[in-house]
């Protein structure tokens, strides 16, 4: 049933951003690549679910979210690259899992796979510009979703730690504060903080664990961006630190997140179905 699952909101918002981005920003994005991303994600999800014995009931919503995330962030001029990214993204959920929990964010894994395995993928960190209008929309809608799924703490820890480090660096270098704000008001960074490191299925279960994990990503992003000059620093930081989730989960154990819990509140009947 539509909008009974919190992920439906996520799908709606990501789709809105995509439409907004294509409509108002100067993106080199082809509609057919979005179709390829969606088709590949959904088919891979279905096939791997079958193979792994989970049956076809498994979630199309997650596959759609991954496909939209890829379309928003990954740029390429070859549909095959998009297909590889989408395949790797969904595949990672089935391969890299411990105790039925996958630890790579699928879209992030797809992006890193495309960047490192093909020669024609890139990410445009400047694509959203720094308009506050967009920032507010991001914050508002992201906040809405996060409130509902209770994982806003990762966003806060990540953005807090990252802003702090950037502020320190800015002060030490002696730049004026508009440099600092300009560096933080990047639409891509906020999109990442709100939609990518908050995926409750792949991040640590306990709040302490999540905070430590998010701060670690912020520190690594800061280092990669400022000392290795990687424009794609955030994605690499998340990719490198994703396996840490498992370690953190064993140290700070906490009940695992399940979408079912949320559904139970909204529509208890669904629980019987799945």
């Amino acid at each position: 049933m539509l909008f009974k699952d919190i992920r439906d909101y996520q799908i709606l918002f990501l789709a809105c951003f995509l439409v907004l981005g294509i409509g108002t920003r100067d993106w080199t994005i082809h509609p057919e690549f979005i179709a390829v991303a969606i088709a590949t994600c959904v088919i891979t999800q279905l096939l791997l679910s079958l193979v792994s014995g989970k049956g076809l009931t498994s979630n199309i919503r997650s596959a759609l979210i991954t496909a939209l995330g890829l379309s928003l962030l990954l740029r390429t001029d070859d549909w095959r690259t998009m297909a590889i990214a989408a395949f790797a993204a969904i595949g990672s959920k089935f391969i890299f899992q411990i105790d039925h929990k996958h630890f790579f964010n699928p879209a992030n894994f797809g992006i890193i796979s495309a960047l490192s395995l093909t020669h024609n993928a890139w990410v445009s960190p400047g694509q959203w510009g720094e308009d506050w209008w967009y920032v507010l929309i991001f914050l508002g809608t992201g906040g809405l979703i996060l409130n509902r799924i209770g994982r806003w703490d990762t966003t806060a820890a990540f953005l807090g730690a990252y802003s702090f480090l950037e502020a320190m660096r800015n002060m030490w270098l002696g730049w004026t504060w508009d440099v600092f704000f300009h560096r933080l008001s990047s639409g891509s960074l906020i999109l990442f903080a709100l939609f990518m490191i908050t995926d409750p299925r792949s991040i640590p279960n306990s709040r302490t664990g999540r905070m430590i994990w998010a701060v670690a990503i912020a520190v690594l992003t800061f280092i990669l961006r400022n000392y290795f000059f990687l424009p794609t620093a955030v994605f690499w930081a998340l990719f490198i630190l994703a396996p840490l989730t498992m370690l953190i989960d064993t140290i700070w154990s906490s009940p695992r997140f399940t979408w079912l819990k949320e559904r139970k509140v909204i529509n208890p009947l669904l629980q019987v179905q799945i």
């Binding site: 020669h119 002696g174 508009d178 000059f229």
Partner: protein
Amino acid sequence: MNRFFRLLVSLLLVVIVIFNFTPAAWAFCGFYVAKADTKLYNKASQVVIARSGDRTVLTMANDFQGKVKDFAVVVPVPTLIKKEQVKVAPPKIVERLDAFSAPRLVEYFDPDPCAPVYNFSKALPAAPMGRAANRMDRKKDSSLGVTVEARFNVGEYDILILSAKESGGLETWLHRNGYKIPRGAKELLQPYIRSGMKFFVAKVNLDKFDESGQQFLRPLQISYQSAKFMLPIRLGMANAKTEQDLILYILSPKGQAEVTNYRTVKVPSNVNIPIFVKQEFGGFYKSMFEKTYIREDRKVAFLEYAWDMGSCDPCSDDPLNPEELEQAGVFWLNGNSNPPPISPRFRRPYPTSGVFITRLHVRYSRNKFPEDLMFQETSDRESFQGRYILQYPFTGELNCSAGREYQQSLFRRKEKEAQSLAQLTDWKIQDIRRRMK
């Protein structure tokens, strides 16, 4: 004194715009008639960046118009630079890149074309030109924390590579050595010092300049190895009151380059405009650029051209040959232009020359561009050009019914052209309609 820093990345300026009407060249996609090159702007710096991997060759065009003895430039560079890393490039090379990549006007004729009339020459008022700093004392002063890392001569330039510990020391050193740097420069020097950058300082060696018999200062070309793919623009804005135009030509073996910390936006292109614009294409482009710039809130970088160096369509100038590319800083061709390795599965259906050019036009001001420009190369090989189309109507007898329909469609077409022009520029629709008659 404040002019000194204005010359930073820069070197401004040009003055008289002459639309050098190049002999018309037929091309598959329209008939090329005019271009809007950098001579349009009276404060345009031109910089060529050839980059592959972490190697960069940076060429700064020198449009300095004052007395050569007054010329001096200070550029923050990411690494120490040795003599063999600095060259002077032929002045023509930047002009060639400009001409090749400039936004262009093309024309088409409805069947039975009438002959177009060519007559245009347009001039803009000359801009006042600045002078730069003075003679320099060759004294080293280590108590200031400034170290002269290298001192050498290349072509008509005397070059110093400085490293500094404190911005105050560097400021004093520059003052003592005759460089008049503007107030507020100290604060701007500090971030560069602290992030480990060195300073490339060049002035003209008058004896060498006279010996060379050159009329103008040649572009300086620096090559270095660094993961930093950036261009420092903040120093140049130390006391600039108005916005400055920067035209960047980025040459890459892969594909388009883009700015990573500001949006990169394509200039409006492929628009049909009234044919009278041919007489004032320069004015049209300037007005259109200004309007687009304001619409984007003055804070984006504009893409004016992106194309493989192997071709152009229509051509506003011949593509650069391998020798010229080498002069422009391209170092990865090795005689036989081998494109970068592309896995067989992803081989592209069309040939590549091994060099992809991106022309970015950044109009920056202090309040909208607080941070230096950072770039990245992408594998985007989509071609783009600023291209504006003139469509000439058929002017012969029209007696048949199809002819009457054509005439009616012509009316609608002209109105549409007028509307597009009014939308793109700040020209008034009434004036446009009047001029179209």
